[in-house]
Amino acid sequence: MSLYVELQQVSKVFPVASSATGELVAAMARDAEHDSVPGGKVAVDRLSLRIAEGERLGIIGRNGAGKSTLLHMIAGIAEPTAGTIRIKGRVTSIMTLGVGLRDDLSGRENIYVDGEIQGRSRAEVDEVIGQVIEFSELGKFIDYPVRTYSTGMKARLAFSMITHIDPEILIIDEALSVGDASFSAKATARILEICARGKIVILVSHGMQSIRDICNRCIYLRDGQVVLDGSPEDVTRAYIDEVRGEDEAALMGRFAAHVGKRSYRAGSEIRRVALLSGNNREASVRVEARERLRIQVTGRAGAWLDDGLCRLRTFRLDELLVFEQDFRLGDFADEAGEIGIEIEFAPLVLGAAIYRLDVLFIDGRGSAGETIADSSTVFEVYTLTPPVGGKPMLYYPVAATAASAA
């Protein structure tokens, strides 16, 4: 009989109460027959899923979509409020590193205890313990009680213990950032190795690339339900497309305080600032890196037209001023004094980040340069193909030619 994980109509509801009494009331009001909690938060909603042997399932979704709750229930850490979970096979989960460690025992003793929990004989543990200790890089500390360890050392020990077992069903929550950079790289490599051995792998991650690298099936969760189920390529692509619209709205909502238009002199105003990415006709606040970007500005400057300046300033999220340029307003006005400017970046070389674009109309007379109208908007530069080796401020084209210097 082959391994499987089967969920039928599984739900998980968390009670939400703001006081202890509230919780008690909620518990008493709980309706046993319908397994519902009044006013509870539904984390997983009547979800059915079957995972067969050989499947490496990726789970993606927004924060709060129910990914972790689902994992916890499969791992047996949480009980479903309703529905049934049937599992054939031994489940190993990598998510709560260090929880099972006994503080008063040494690292070495903990490895033996864990081996017993996993149902292995002492002889079996003896075979791998050398590798476990070596992997953990704990040195002499392996014979000290675990309570003398730092958080990072505990995580390293726990991770090393888990990686030397041969899992049947392996559950991985994305918190794989164990310890410092060098150990983390080692841990990731080991996870990939285990995935190749594991008979069923269930992985939760926000990293679309790791889902595509590791998994052969992917589900997209939203509000505790499966929205999409298919190949990792298709599902991650659909997910990215879908969250893009939500991201735009969220971005604008979050920076609402920074966005707006003001006029400080009667007769001057900035009417519209629009960002058009690629060949889009519609303005957008998410623009693709290395694509064409057009910024269109329209407005009036009244009596300040002839001497006025339009200043474009772009700040990165951390307040770094990355670009500033002035244009003479008079060069871009029609007979009626209506201003229309289009600044085109072809391509846009800004690196992926969130930016604020300030457009200012400035009184060019005198040296003070008083602002007569301004407008702020926020935009995000994104890329699906980030450069390898770092996150540069600019995606600037650098060409190279090599010649023999004989």
Binding site: D180, E324, F327, I341, A400, A402, A405
Partner: protein, 391 residues
């Protein structure tokens, strides 16, 4: 117990901390009235740590897991008493470590904040304003009035950071903190720490993230197995901490004749000529990066090229990188060169053959001359008039 004004905010001298390791069931021994002070093995977590934090500066301490970073912060924050040495503190301390330690997960975010502010002696009249600021900064929305145990770890971290930095303190002890939340929240945390620093705060930042050190600290120490193995400027501390193995440069290398400094003109079409010696018949590739390193202010890669082929056969080569209309403001930059063997099919990474990089301690200087720019960089653009009603 405010000391008279001194030129340092915090100083410790020959600080050491040892922990006794008790193997026996000490509680039973205690209960049975037996001797508990038997000599056992001792873990020396820290030894001979001397550190002076000048007023208005944040000193970095960088080290791997288990090197003693958290123990040091606990000593400075007076959570532990030192085994040896002494600590002098001139100012009120705010610890950004073990956050939530004074809270109870059954408190709501708001209750936790009120408790913290009371503890810190914030006058009642200004509590309401500070609370609004905390609610706003932490972006918790309605969750601010929910209990902390219903928070995700990211939400809790946001709350704790917002609370601990809501008021200007004199000395901050920071543990990795600037790695909480998403990119947007991190940028906010950075801005806030920078603001506190500009207003005269001092502090100690312990971390294993070297980029944080060069962005916030001019001076830094490398901590290794409980002692400082290096004290000095933070870029050199990073080199020591990373301790990157410089490739042996046997198969290919940069000749000694390579210029130590390149000079380019801002805004001009520029080229950088790199001599390369290939000593074995190998497919060799070269990449270049321009990095901005302003100690204590910021570090970042500004331009990063892809790997370009140099040649497949042994011999001397000249590689010319061309950067059209150099978009960088005049100033000093670091030029980095990476020589590698092309990755074979199925290999994820190239094998490094030789390099020049400040992180290896052998970087090349790049000086950009020309008229100052109003911003960090400029972007190539075209501009035209459009009918006002179109847009």
């Amino acid at each position: 117990m405010q000391q008279p004004c001194r030129d340092f905010a915090l100083r410790c001298v020959h600080l050491g901390k040892s922990f006794a390791v008790h193997r026996e069931q000490r509680v039973w021994r205690l209960l049975l009235g037996m001797e508990t002070h038997r000599k056992g093995p001792v873990v020396e977590a820290l030894r001979d740590i001397s550190l002076t934090v000048p007023r208005g500066k944040i000193v970095g301490v960088i080290g791997r897991n288990g090197a003693g970073k958290s123990t040091l912060l606990r000593l400075l924050g007076q959570v532990y008493t030192p085994t040896t040495g002494s600590i002098e503190i001139n100012g009120q301390i705010a610890g950004l470590f073990e956050l939530g330690g004074m809270g109870n997960p059954n408190l709501t975010g708001r209750e936790y904040a009120i408790r913290y502010l009371q503890f810190m002696g914030v006058p009642g009249a200004s509590v309401a304003t500070v609370l609004d600021d905390i609610a706003d900064f932490s972006e918790l929305g309605g969750a601010f009035d929910q209990r902390i145990r219903t928070y995700s770890s990211g939400m809790a971290a946001r709350l704790y950071f917002a609370v601990a930095t809501a008021c200007q303190h004199e000395i901050y002890l920071i543990d990795e903190l600037l790695s909480v939340g998403d990119e947007h929240f991190q940028a906010k945390c950075w801005r806030r720490m920078r603001e506190r620093l500009l207003n005269g705060a001092s502090g100690v930042l312990v971390t294993h993230d070297w980029t944080a050190i060069v962005k916030l600290c001019e001076q830094a120490c490398v901590i290794d197995e409980g002692r400082f193995s290096f004290v000095g400027s933070s870029d050199l501390a990073v080199v020591r901490y990373l301790d990157l193995p410089v490739p042996e440069a046997r198969a290919a290398r940069f000749p000694d004749t390579i210029p130590q400094e390149f000079v380019l003109e801002s805004g001009e079409d520029s080229s950088v000529t790199v001599p390369v010696e290939v000593l074995e018949d190998l497919p060799v590739e070269l990449a270049i990066s321009v990095e901005m390193l302003r100690i204590g202010i910021g570090w970042e890669i500004v331009i990063l090229s892809e790997y370009h082929a140099v040649g497949d056969k042994a011999g001397r080569y000249t590689v010319v990188f061309t950067i059209p209309a150099l978009p960088l403001a005049p100033g000093r930059y670091s030029l980095n060169l990476f020589l590698a063997r092309r990755a074979l099919p199925g290999q994820r990474h190239r094998v490094g053959l030789d390099c020049r990089s400040w992180t290896y301690g052998n970087g090349l200087a790049l000086r950009i001359e020309g008229r100052p720019l109003p911003a960090a960089v400029t972007l190539p653009f075209r501009v035209q008039a459009i009918p006002a009603e179109v847009a």
